[in-house]
Amino acid sequence: MKHIISLLMENEAGALSRVAGLFSARGYNIESLTVAPTEDATLSRMTIVTSGSDDVIEQIIKQLNKLVDVVKVLDLNDGRHIERELMLVKVKATGALRDEMKRISDIFRGRIIDVADGSYTIELTGSGSKLDAFLEALDKTVILETVRTGASGIGRGDRILKV
């Protein structure tokens, strides 16, 4: 099953490589991994999307907690949470496609952020599955390029991950 794991870690050189190294050394899956500093410059917040049986996820959480640089770990799937991911898609926009691309983008609440002679660049945010659905709605031949940030996650309501 897919899990979104959030963690806070010391904003030290090499901290990211310890997490990435742990996943590869122990054969855990990483679907996506995002990391950036928080409002407290000494801390980085990381969101890891992974998958595995309950036992594997339990081991992942324990092994992450064991890393000396990791301050806190939270499995967002343990409660209600929100997941958001940003995607930029460059699509062909010539002739009839110009209108059609605009229309599909609107349906998915996307924004066209760059307009060129033969292409549009569409910005889209949402859950991973929404972004997947958008790509599926497009004819593969019109997609020139895609870039996704990977998911960021946060707990709903009072569920707060903070030091």
Binding site: E10, K62, N65, V68, V71
Partner: protein, 589 residues
């Protein structure tokens, strides 16, 4: 940085700061080897008298010796190596210590800060290389960070589940100047090891233990590292329950005690493995249910039982085997609390159930699974050498081993009554540790008898340390069980590869006696069973000499009992089984 290049009043160099830190940590020995990137450090080392530097002949041996010093004493072992090849040579030693959770600080030199990443001479990314095999590592980038980093390194190495910590220090940092303040204590928000176990869980565990009909206590290296032998002995004697130790846990519970069933696992005793499989309540203490211990986890779990697991590392719990009562905490603290609860408890163990359980165990014991054919008067049996070693040293020696058949025989036939006396590479299984391990033990306890049980394959992996032993007058006794084969490899090839002995024969061996003598040591060849005991007595009587004993042993002897890879605890092949070789052959490796 330019400010740091000029020494101001009250400032000392980075290299001197490192010396002060080691002094503060009461380090007695630093095992190391100099080189370009650590020249400033070695210059500072030259001027100090707080600790002794042990110059090895290869960096791997420095780390192994520091590791053994820690295993023997419980203190943090310290090694010092230069950058690049010095650092990579240390990696096997670091990984060995990591797998067995040994507290160590390894200081490695690094090329100057400005040269990092430039593919400089003797540059290697030590923090990157060691990341998967350390508890933590640091690259120091500012001379003012040295003291705090060293403090953290020692704290992290020794606390929680112990492990090696690497501190990588660029050469320029060791030459710069800063004020020295060693922190009294250290607090890290990201690292807060648990000591006290959950009292509710401990109460629950005690209740389950008292309700057991077929109880079993299984203790591992964590018990030894946590110095909780006395607490376990008290608990086991109060309850009257059987105990087994893992390879790493030998000596944690006295081997000669009648409640001890011997070692369990792939080469464990018949009684220990069967009791482990058949018990209804299992108390696991500082052990991790690894593949060499329980064999196939599905086979192990095919019998229902309640498992209580005490471990300082939460990630060791429910990793291979799901447990019912996890207790995260320091083994000494948790066992003490259990003992207190038992003392105030009116309920006693079920005597009649226990009696019939012990009757079953005694029945398993009649198999005498460690018996071997000792009738030959011409060929030395390796097991016999270990039995005599135990007698001659009165069971009180530090015994180090390398890896292979000799390691298993030493573990099976030397009865360890004390913890921290059996020093071997259990997790990584590193050939070549034996001799440097013996060096670490002898330095830790100069008057003690130290025996290095080894094979002719393993000993040659760090044979250069004969020179270090000469320099520091280490009166180690090498017990070489020389069967002219990589015995364990040969055993598996015999059982699982139809006797195709691919590259497992040790040809062109040196004359070990002459080799030892060339270093100024004493060498002995022992070829007949009748000479074994006399030779051992003679060797151990030479209290101030290093003696290299080359025992020519039976080439065909195998280690039994044996659980073939992937099989379960009750699927052992015994040495007494007349069809043992066929039985092994039938089983796929």
């Amino acid at each position: 940085m330019d400010q740091s290049n000029q020494q101001k009043v009250g400032q000392i160099s980075g290299a001197e700061i490192i010396m002060r830190c080691l002094h503060e940590e009461k380090v007695k020995f630093v095992f190391g080897y100099p080189g370009g990137a650590v020249l400033h450090i070695y210059d500072a080392l030259f001027k100090q008298k707080d600790f002794k530097h042990i110059l090895v002949r290869h960096e791997q041996a420095a780390v192994h010796a520091a590791d053994a010093f820690s295993r023997a004493t419980g203190e943090v072992g310290v090694a010092l190596v230069t950058s690049g090849p010095g650092a990579t040579n240390a990696v096997t030693g670091i990984a060995t210590a990591y797998m067995d959770s040994i507290p160590m600080v390894v200081i490695s030199g690094q090329v100057p800060t400005a040269a990092i990443g430039m593919d400089a001479f003797q540059e290697v990314d030590m923090v990157g290389v060691t990341r998967p095999c350390v508890k933590h590592n640091f690259l120091i980038k500012d001379v003012r960070d040295i003291a705090m980093t060293m403090k953290k390194a020692f704290y992290i190495a020794a606390s929680g589940r112990p492990g090696p910590v690497v501190v990588d220090i660029p050469k320029d940092i060791t030459a710069e100047f800063a004020e020295y303040n060693y922190p009294k204590s250290v607090e890290m928000r990201s690292y807060t090891p648990v000591i006290k176990g959950h009292s509710g869980q401990i109460k629950k565990a005690v209740k389950i233990l008292l309700d057991a009909k077929r109880p079993m206590i299984y203790s591992g290296g964590g018990l030894v590292l946590g110095d909780a032998s006395n607490e376990l002995v008290k608990l086991a004697r109060t309850l009257g329950y059987p105990v087994t130790n893992t390879l790493m846990g030998l000596g944690g519970y006295p081997a000669t005690d009648k409640q001890n069933l011997g070692m369990l696992g792939m080469h464990g005793t018949y009684e220990a493995n069967n009791a482990m499989q058949e018990c209804d309540v299992l108390l696991a203490v500082g052990a991790r249910f690894d593949d060499r211990v329980i064999g196939n986890p599905e086979h192990f779990l095919s019998v229902p039982r309640t498992i209580i697991h005490i471990d300082v590392d939460p990630s060791s719990i429910s990793k291979r085997v799901k447990v019912d009562v996890p207790i995260v905490g320091h083994v000494q603290s948790v066992l003490s609390e259990m003992n207190e609860l038992l003392a105030s408890e009116s309920k006693k163990p079920d005597a009649s159930a226990l009696k019939s359980w012990w009757a079953r165990i005694d029945d398993w014991r009649t198999k005498k699974s460690l018996s071997y054919d000792d009738s030959s008067t011409s060929i030395i049996k390796p097991q016999y050498v270990i039995e005599k070693l135990w007698e001659v040293t009165k069971g009180d020696a530090y015994v180090t081993s390398d890896v292979g058949q000799h390691q298993m025989w030493a573990a099976q036939y030397y009865k360890f009554d004390k913890p921290r006396r059996w020093i071997n590479s259990g997790g990584l299984g590193t050939m070549g540790v034996g001799l440097p391990y013996a060096m670490g033990c002898q330095l830790a306890d100069p008057k003690a008898q130290v025996a290095c049980v080894t094979g002719e394959g393993s000993i040659q992996m760090n044979i250069q340390e004969l020179s270090t032993c000469k320099q520091f007058h280490l009166p180690i006794k090498v017990i070489l069980l020389n069967n002219r084969y990589l015995g364990m490899v040969r055993q598996w090839q015999e059982f699982f590869y139809e006797n195709r002995y691919s590259e497992s024969y040790m040809d062109s061996l040196p004359d070990f006696v002459k080799l030892a003598e060339s270093y100024g040591h004493v060498g002995m060849d022992i070829e007949k069973p009748a000479d074994v005991e006399g030779a051992l007595k003679e060797a151990f009587a030479m209290k101030d000499r290093f003696v290299f004993m080359n025992f020519l042993t039976d080439q065909k002897e195998n280690v039994f009992p044996m659980i073939p890879n992937g099989k379960g605890l009750s699927e052992m092949i015994l040495g007494s089984d007349p069809n043992k070789d066929d039985a092994a052959n039938e089983i796929e490796g």
